[in-house]
């Protein structure tokens, strides 16, 4: 589904990613772990198309098509979703209005009409029930005054609504207590199927207790220096990142 080929990226002429190779197939869950400053968040931002970063060389291919030249919204329309480490607040715009806009923009890109309000409500009801979420907060301004847990749940709710092919969870566990972590992880697990894929970016192993990866990659100094199965995460937790040399 997603192939990253020898990807080099930099920000303000500082090289951060120095040759990333990664292949994610449909139905798989990959985890990228690494110490602070290893380039984890840069990788997710570059896949999503954040213009702050320059891609120096290499390629990112989504379903046989290079997405490097695509604007972030086009990548989103193609099925890339990123759950933000720090979701932004948009005062005066309700979560419902926001997600409605997002869905209809995607449909427009696909040449479809706006989703009728009735179907939209149905979808909202269905997804919020699946994620066991209180629908009240959907009427509040997007992320404004939300707790850390609410913000992350809101991200997962949006993911459920947009039904992406590839979901990137960027440090989704940061700032979450264990209960919130379980709820969020459960949500992701419910949304996972053989047609989509999940890329979990995390510093700690604990999220991987709940979202069990098929593959774990260790990122250090802009390169993947070790890959393995889910047991690699446990080993890292026990021995620390210095263990991988």
């Amino acid at each position: 589904m997603l192939i990253i080929k020898n990807l080099h990226a930099s920000v303000n002429d500082t090289k951060i990613l120095k040759g990333i190779n990664l292949e994610i197939k449909a139905g798989e869950v990959h985890a990228i772990m690494g110490p602070n400053g290893s380039g984890k968040s840069t990788l997710s931002s570059v896949i999503a198309g954040n213009g702050v970063y320059d891609v120096d060389s290499g390629d990112i291919i989504l379903e046989n098509e290079s997405i490097l030249e695509m604007a972030p919204e086009e990548r989103a329309h193609k099925g890339i979703f990123m759950s933000f480490q720090y979701p932004v607040e948009i005062p005066g715009v309700s979560t419902i209005n926001f997600i409605k806009t997002a869905i209809n923009e995607k449909r427009k890109a696909q040449g479809l009409e706006d989703l009728p309000a009735k179907n939209m409500l149905q979808l909202i009801k269905e997804k919020s029930e699946l994620l066991e979420m209180d629908r009240k907060f959907l009427s509040r301004s997007l992320n404004q005054g939300f707790s850390g847990g609410e913000k992350k749940r809101n991200e997962i709710f949006q993911m459920a609504m947009l039904d992406p092919k590839l979901a990137i969870l960027d440090e989704t566990d940061s700032g979450l207590d264990i209960d919130a972590l379980k709820i969020v992880a459960n949500g992701v697990n419910k949304l996972k199927n053989e047609n989509n894929a999940v890329l979990v970016i995390t510093h700690y192993q604990r999220l991987l207790d709940y979202i069990v990866p098929d593959f774990v990659h260790v990122l250090k100094d802009g390169k993947i220096i070790k890959s393995g199965g889910k047991e690699l995460a446990l080993e890292l937790e026990a021995k620390g990142y210095d263990w991988v040399k």
């Binding site: 213009g51 604007a71 972030p72 919204e73 989103a76 979703f81 005062p91 005066g92």
Partner: protein, 482 residues
Amino acid sequence: MNKYTEDDLKKELETQEYEYGFYSELNAETFPKGLNEDIIRAISKKKEEPEWMTNWRLDAFKIWQEMEEPEWANVHYKKPDFQAISYYSAPKQKEQLKSLDDVDTELLAMYKKLGISVNEQKRMNNVAMDIVVDSVSVATTFKETLAKDGIIFMPISEAIQKHSDLVKKYLGTIVPKKDNFYAALNSAVFTDGSFCYIPKGVRCPMELSTYFRINEGGTGQFERTLLIADEGSYVSYLEGCTAPSRDENQLHAAVVELIALDDAEIKYSTVQNWYPGNAEGIGGVFNFVTKRALCEKNAKVSWTQVETGSAVTWKYPSCILKGDNSVGEFYSIAVTNNYQQADTGTKMIHLGKNTRSTIISKGVSAGKSQNSYRGLVQIGARADNARNFSQCDSLLMGDECGAHTFPYIECKNNTAQIEHEATTSKIGEDQLFYCNQRGIDTEKAIALIVNGFSKEVLNKLPMEFAVEARKLLEISLEGSVG
């Protein structure tokens, strides 16, 4: 110029060359440029006005000549040459029209371009409209329905003839001729506008609406609106403005006077979309407007405005809270882009006891524009327990624009409560990227963020107006982020 008669004017008109630009080729009748007593007499005669009105105008002209153009506002522009403006322009018309079918087809086409379908508006929205093109009303609708309740809604020129006493009683009482430079000019030369009277205890059954348009190149527009809500009555009034692209600066100096007698309520909503000039700051309308309301006992006046147009805006819809327990409200969104400049706000003058006022002002600046809020909250010595709440929020886009807030507070009564809140924020790259990532492109994202920012004000607009206003906000900010 001194011996100019109406016939001379007509002759000149026939020989005058018109330069037709992009604007519709209306068969207009335009006075020669310049301003003097004879022009004023000619305007008055053209309008078949009673003598008192002619004298009133001449008096205003005298006052205006003594005055100087104000310079205190935070706007910079080349001052208009008042002798280079034509003070009268009327679409030629054979008779008063009863149906829209009789209206100039080009006019109708122009409305269509602006997205104003008069027929549809009439039928669907139950809106009575007094359409003003340049300076003269060409069609007035729903008059009969309104007449059943004794409501008078007509061009002010007609009201001067038909309801001379009412006009004479109230005209210039809220905004006196000598109030300010532009008000004095307006008093001397206004050619049209609306007059509205709601009788005692009547709740106006529909929203009253006027669409203003500037059309003829080089003609200024000097609209005069006078709205009287008699005791215990209610009216919601909509004023919407659009103007076509023009290269030279056009002057617009309107005066709006609202009178809310005991227990009356007036909602006055404006969507202002005059031509703002091009992306380089060339052209655009100068909008110098004086709007003021008087509230008697228990009366309430709400001003809601969405300001997206004009090269230069100078406008402070105000409330004089004279009566005890009267309420004044001001809800405003001012959007400036490119080289636009806006200095706008309100004055809340608390004179009566237990008077209350609310000010919510939202400024959005983009491009190289400058957006200023200027407001005065004045509490008089007798205004026991007066209360004011003001909130001024600014949203900036990019780093070349400016937002300024000039709140003035004068309080002479120590039982008053005055609150002022202000925030300034910027549309962040992170907000835009977040929206992009969800599939929302930058332009749409800005529209979404600005709409969210302006929500408190948009919610105060009547439904169909709010939809139009939202669209306008989006259009105004198109291309504001590269």
